[in-house]
């Protein structure tokens, strides 16, 4: 009985291995898909380099350190009641 059981579990183990092995190609197949988004990103990068385009317009320039030519041009915020008071309901 004991011997028989050992055989059984051994067979079950092999059966499991066989089933899992059959599932492995599925795993691999899912893995090899074409990464379209990555390819698009790569294409943009390569084309920008070849055509020497600036790396997309989506890079806002920070003007924080631009020295003002005429300080008078800076208009201070007028807070002398030009804004209507918030309505309270």
């Amino acid at each position: 009985m004991n011997k028989l059981c050992t055989l059984c579990s051994c067979q079950r183990a092999w059966l499991l291995v066989a089933v899992l092995a059959a599932g492995l190609p599925g795993c691999v197949t899912i893995n090899i898909y074409f990464p379209a988004a990555a390819a698009e990103k790569a294409a943009d990068k390569v084309i920008d380099e070849i055509w020497q385009l600036p790396p997309d317009q989506a890079a806002p320039v920070d003007h924080a350190v631009s020295p003002p030519a005429s300080p008078a041009a800076v208009t201070p915020v007028n807070d002398s009641g030009s804004q209507p008071a918030n309505r309270k309901e």
Binding site: A13, C27, P35, E40, D48, W51
Partner: protein, 139 residues
């Protein structure tokens, strides 16, 4: 025993999926072969851009360039123009092949070419001729 085998198998699957997810984040475009092709194309672009502007050369739906209107170019320069277009297309083929190979999937060449074709046309400057549905149109 069976649990152990299943555990190892699942771990393997997760590792495979995870390593792929990481690999998919970016395509490698920095091999020496790809860099050489890019440099050659960058240098050639200085000559080609005038032809794009004039409409002598346009961008095709297949991700290549083609002589669209040779009559815009003086007769004496047409041979050189044909050579330029030919060299550019050879390099473009090498570019698509090179990127596919650099990422371990030579079979991706067609897909990469298709995406490049869209992006070249999308990034073309206004005034350049691009092919859409078999017809030339000016951007």
């Amino acid at each position: 025993m069976t649990r152990y085998i299943a555990g190892v198998f699942l771990a393997f699957c997760f590792m495979a999926a995870f390593s792929h997810a990481q690999a998919a984040a970016d395509l490698n475009v920095n091999t020496p072969a790809v860099a050489a092709v890019k440099a050659a194309m960058q240098a050639r672009h200085a000559q080609l851009s005038a032809y794009y502007q004039s409409g002598a050369v346009g961008l095709t739906v297949e991700g290549f360039v083609a002589v669209k209107d040779a009559s815009l170019v003086p007769l004496s320069q047409r041979g050189a123009l044909a050579g330029l277009v030919n060299d550019e297309n050879t390099d473009r083929t090498h570019l698509y092949q090179g990127i596919a190979a650099a990422n371990g999937h030579p079979e991706w060449e067609g897909e990469i070419q298709r995406i490049f074709a869209l992006r070249w046309i999308d990034k073309a400057q206004s005034g350049w001729f691009v092919q859409r549905e078999g017809q030339w149109s000016r951007k």
